[in-house]
């Protein structure tokens, strides 16, 4: 059982690393569009890795009590994979339509 806990911890740590990178990107990158690059991508993989860790933990320790919970977690992963790029795309389109100017190399950061 220890080895499963180690694997779960690795998944959670990797997920937290990517979420953390997303936050740093949000703070460091220069404008609206590039910030969306950081949040839109890192969030997807970070959340999915964390949910995968929870899934393995649950399947190893509580499978006989609530066998359907891993299935629900898999539905969550599928939903995140569909919804996250779509939401990023919608925010991007809204900014482009209202005329937010994209940052070019050499300009001052906003």
């Amino acid at each position: 059982m220890v080895i499963i806990d180690v694997i779960v911890t690795l998944f959670l740590a990797a997920g937290i690393f990517f979420m953390f990178t997303g936050v740093i990107g949000l703070l460091r990158l220069p404008d609206f569009y590039t910030r969306l690059h950081a949040t839109g991508k890192c969030d997807t993989l970070g959340e999915v890795l964390i949910i995968t860790g929870l899934l393995i933990y649950h399947a190893a320790h509580y499978a006989h009590e609530a066998p359907l919970v891993p299935v629900k977690l898999i539905f969550l992963i599928v939903f995140i994979f569909l919804a996250n790029p779509t939401a990023t795309h919608a925010i991007m389109k809204a900014a482009y339509m209202t005329g937010v100017k994209p940052w070019k190399l050499g300009e001052e950061r906003r």
């Binding site: 990517f18 970070g46 609530a66 629900k72």
Partner: protein, 168 residues
């Protein structure tokens, strides 16, 4: 005649999918919950079957199978995308050079366009801004020159999506 058969098939597929979804989410298998599930799935299938299964179901199996293979390649691209963003963000000099690019594709169907748009957003350094479904034209924001060239010059992703939906 054939259109009617297609409709019945669509309702049946939607009903099965909805009922399976109900069973998995509820997890209670007594008579009341199962019958309530049958009624609800039937209502949903009757009203909105055309959202899930379009009338023309030609080569549906082949497309689903190719799409299934495509997903694994896409998952690997997502991992690469995250390392790419992490590298650009954590690098002290931030090697970014953002630009907006436009390109045309041969894709026309809704599913193919959505797949390509979401794939572009999930792969390294590019996010879809706008799609023109009639001309198959894409506006994409790229964070540097290299990911922009991957879409403009190599066109690996366009070819893969076109293969999946057989729209060359």
């Amino acid at each position: 005649m054939k259109g009617k058969e297609g409709k019945g098939f669509g309702i049946l597929v939607t009903f099965c999918a909805m009922f399976l979804f109900w069973l998995l989410l509820s997890g209670i298998f007594d008579a009341f919950h199962v019958i309530a599930g049958v009624i609800c799935s039937a209502i949903v299938a009757f009203i909105s079957h055309d959202l899930l299964v379009k009338g023309k179901g030609e080569k549906m199996l082949t497309k689903s199978f190719r799409f299934f293979i495509y997903i694994w390649w896409e998952l690997w691209q997502i991992v690469l995308a995250n390392f790419d963003v992490a590298y650009r963000v954590l690098h002290p000099k931030m090697p970014i050079d953002p630009r907006i690019i436009e390109f045309d594709t041969s894709l026309r169907s809704d599913f193919a366009l959505v797949t390509l748009a979401n794939s572009i957003t999930l792969t390294p350094g590019t996010i879809t801004i706008l799609v023109d479904p009639e001309k198959g034209k894409f506006w994409v924001h790229a964070i540097a020159k290299k990911p922009a060239d991957a879409l403009l010059v190599d066109k690996t992703m366009q070819r893969k999506v076109a293969d999946v939906y057989m729209e060359r």
